[in-house]
Symmetry: C2
Subunit: 141 residues, 2 copies
């Protein structure tokens, strides 16, 4: 009887990818799934351990690598020297606010009029990065 709750959904996703469900790996993935802000390793680590220790730094790194290898998380590269992570692995684009630094998902169908056949390469995927001011920062100065 699957209760269909979030815990079970996450456990089943890990298992279906052949990953062992360990408390640390579960915590990392669950944390990432609960957020929309594309956190860094440091932010995930701090969040996990804020009440009591759950996972070491090295384990957060290796968990993210394992999750990335099986396609449950993606890396997002928008800023110099900053690796961010995203549990949203469906194709989508990103908006990066130059003022507050926030990163927002942009729906895939925002740019659906691409003609990739013009390129002299075999294009397998693409992503658009948009920069500017987010809704909370427009109007500020």
């Amino acid at each position: 009887m699957s209760k269909g709750n979030l815990r079970d959904v996450i456990v089943n996703r890990l298992k279906s990818k052949g990953l062992r469900v360990t408390p640390q790996r579960f915590a990392v993935y669950a944390n990432l799934c609960s957020r929309r802000d594309h956190p860094t390793v440091e932010q995930i680590l701090k969040d996990l351990n804020q009440d009591f220790p759950i996972s070491s730094q090295a384990t957060v790194y290796t968990s993210l690598q394992a999750l990335r290898k099986v396609g449950l998380v993606k890396e997002v590269l928008l800023e110099e020297g900053v690796s961010r992570y995203d549990a949203n692995v469906e194709p989508h684009h990103h908006f990066h606010c130059r003022q507050c630094g926030s990163i927002k998902d942009v729906p895939w169908d925002t740019f659906d009029s691409f003609n990739l056949e013009r390129l002299p390469y075999l294009a397998e995927s693409y992503e658009v990065t948009i920069r500017g001011l987010c809704d909370r920062c427009t109007g500020n100065n």
Copy 2:
């Protein structure tokens, strides 16, 4: 009487941005201008010093920062933990080959049909990153 040669062009560009023209800074920018491969700091450094020492590592870093600050070079972020540099500061997109890792420029007008008004943000710029197999890697296996 400008001779219009590459050396003068580069010197004038540096001066027009208010940068002092030092041998090291000249060498870094000239090297970047002569390449199409979006090199890393390490690759630039190795290239500059291959015959005899021209510039220290720290100076390559600071030169690139200075050049970036005045808009003569751009940073290109496509791979985890790798910062690449580009003297092509005109708006353009990038293709990244998953096989050989090469990075190619993609003309700006390849994607000229964007409707950025649909977004709830103030979009100031955008860039498309395409991944796949380059012309030299298609057909190989």
